[in-house]
């Protein structure tokens, strides 16, 4: 019994030590954001905490505008994506054909295509259609970007729903639309939720398209942060404050939902 207690204490130190080290950069960023600019370039822990940087960040850039853009774009793209993916995944899970597996593979392979390979044409197309720096453009982009992953995940969750239930409702005359709305979505709600969560997080943190296709009007938080890289990158306290503001919403969101997330991330493979 005694060794067990000792082991637990050792593990506590080890576990918290690792947690501290991994979390340290975020912690350090949070501490720096409450320093004045002069204190920020020294590693001292003794300083007068100030909200100076937060007020300057809000004066200098349109933080709330960027938050609204991030929320609209990631949630919007996720909704559109689900609208496309739910029927497709439903059909593939419950009426699989010989080609279903190939189709899924093909969808995933489009995700492997490096974005940079199509950057130039997409930029030109967006320019021609007037989609640069618009919500519509970014939502369309994010939708396409996540569609394969979302279809895959929904497919693996839908397969866990017993076919007999849907089959019975079909016999009673339920249309595919009714089956999906009244049976499938309620039954696989945790799976659908975790899919949506992952999609929102991926959109929120997406940096390639949002940096290249937006400038001001539709710029999400990722773009806002890049504008702090230089020359304002020298002002560490403001940089930290802006960074903390940019990651705080998604960090809290991720923490609250991490259990559902894991299911989604692994396509239901990890039980």
């Amino acid at each position: 019994m005694k060794t067990k207690q000792r082991d637990k204490i050792i593990m506590t130190f080890l576990g918290w030590g690792v947690a501290f080290l991994v979390f340290f950069p975020i912690l350090w960023m949070a501490i720096t954001s409450f320093k004045s600019e002069i204190d920020a370039i020294t590693p001292s822990l003794f300083f007068h905490p100030t909200l100076e940087s937060y007020t300057t960040v809000n004066e200098r850039v349109n933080y709330f505008g960027a938050v609204i853009n991030s929320v609209v774009e990631s949630v919007g793209a996720t909704m559109v994506c689900l609208a496309f993916a739910v029927p497709a995944a439903y059909a593939m899970a419950f009426y699989p054909g010989r080609k279903t597996k190939d189709l899924l593979m093909w969808m995933m392979s489009t995700k492997m295509m490096p974005a940079v390979g199509v950057l130039v044409p997409i930029y030109v197309i967006f320019q021609q259609l007037g989609l640069l720096d618009t919500w519509t453009g970014i939502i369309a982009m994010f939708t396409m970007m996540n569609l394969p992953i979302v279809v895959w995940m929904l497919y693996s969750f839908f397969r866990e729903v017993p076919k007999e239930i849907l089959e019975a409702s079909r016999m009673d005359g339920a249309t595919p639309m009714q089956q999906m709305r009244l049976l499938l979505l309620p039954l696989s709600l945790p799976g659908v939720m975790s899919t949506a969560l992952l999609s929102i997080i991926l959109c929120w943190n997406e940096a390639f398209w949002s940096i290249n296709l937006t400038s001001v009007k539709a710029a999400p938080l990722t773009q806002l942060i890049v504008s702090f890289s230089s020359p304002e990158g020298l002002f560490w306290s403001k940089l930290s404050a802006a960074s903390l503001l940019a990651i705080a919403p998604i960090l809290v969101f991720g923490w609250l939902t991490q259990r559902q997330l894991v299911r989604g991330l692994t396509f239901g493979a990890v039980k």
């Binding site: 576990g15 350090w28 439903y90 595919p176 923490w255 692994t266």
Partner: protein, 305 residues
């Protein structure tokens, strides 16, 4: 029990599209397929077209077909070889680091200790941090050779501070990327650990198996499948690393930290050589597909079991 196995085949018609027993699935599946097709084929065709053209935004007088010159120029360019090596080193290095630390952390945080639940939240946090923020914070607050925390610590013990992004640029970027992805591997593998058969471990312990033997013969085989999932998901994202390079080194010094993605970005958007950049893009697509075929096969096999 047996009911779940019985009607499955009756419902699942082997035919594609319309079938007598099923429904017409085409209107359900086609919107997704059509959207992906358009999104993939139109830009890809344009990229392919541009890659055979002389198309430089700074010099509109030179136009017309370029034949294979964009490709020969690219493939014989030293920057290209460097960028391929950098891409492989970055993806491989980060994958190995995240799997090793992810496994160790998963085992550690699976043990019972005080405040286990809360400490887990701290460990997974970096995964939710956007790449641009991660890169900027590491670059300035931690790795800055003059005022960064690491420099202070080095001076504190009498060492010369390391100029991270000039002496070891690729390693420094890898470090930042690994910091973001170790939590991901930990999150997944930790969840997988929870389905491990405790009695098996206990029995092995009773029989005198040392912790290392238990780890090697019970835990590692159990984690094999989730590890392949981690490898697949991470590879997709690691092949496309961009923001971390953009905000830290911009690919430098020289080409020391330029990966294929960044090379194409530099050629097409910074040097305005659309033709050359497109050729790079096509090469990137081909390479990614080679990796993809291999990975998707492995994962598909895993999903079937």
């Amino acid at each position: 029990m047996s009911t779940s196995a019985l009607p499955r085949d009756a419902v699942a018609s082997p035919k594609v599209g319309r079938s007598k027993r099923g429904i017409d699935t085409r209107p359900l599946v086609w919107p997704s397929i059509a959207a992906l097709l358009v999104w993939m084929i139109v830009p890809l065709a344009l990229t392919l077209y541009f890659s055979f053209r002389n198309y430089n935004l700074t010099d509109p007088t030179v136009q017309g077909w370029a034949g294979l010159s964009n490709y020969t120029y690219l493939l014989t360019d030293d920057s290209f070889i460097t960028s391929i090596i950098n891409t492989v080193l970055l993806v491989g290095g980060v994958l190995i680091t995240t799997i090793v630390f992810g496994t160790l952390f998963a085992v550690l945080f699976d043990q019972e200790f005080y405040g286990q639940g809360i400490s887990r939240l701290f460990v997974v946090a970096p995964f939710f941090v956007m790449p641009t923020v991660a890169a900027l914070v590491w670059k300035n607050l931690l790795m800055d050779p003059v005022n960064g925390l690491f420099a202070y610590m080095a001076r504190g013990i009498g060492l010369e501070p390391i100029t991270w992004f000039t002496t070891t640029p690729l390693f420094s970027i890898g470090l930042i990327v690994a910091w973001q992805w170790v939590p991901f591997a930990t999150l997944i593998l930790l969840t997988a650990m929870q389905s491990l058969d405790r009695e098996q471990i206990e029995a092995a312990r009773m029989d005198g198996a040392k912790p290392i033997a238990r780890f090697r013969h019970i835990i590692v085989p159990h984690l094999a499948r989730p590890i392949t999932v981690v490898v697949m998901i991470e590879t997709i994202f690691l092949l496309g690393i961009f923001a971390e390079i953009l905000v830290t080194t911009s690919g430098g010094p020289g080409d020391a930290s330029t990966n294929l993605v960044y090379l194409v970005y530099k050629t097409a958007l910074l040097q305005f050589d659309v033709g050359g950049g497109s050729a790079g893009g096509i090469v990137a697509v081909v390479l990614a597909n080679v990796v993809a075929i291999f990975l998707v096969r492995t994962v598909a096999r895993n999903l079937d079991n």
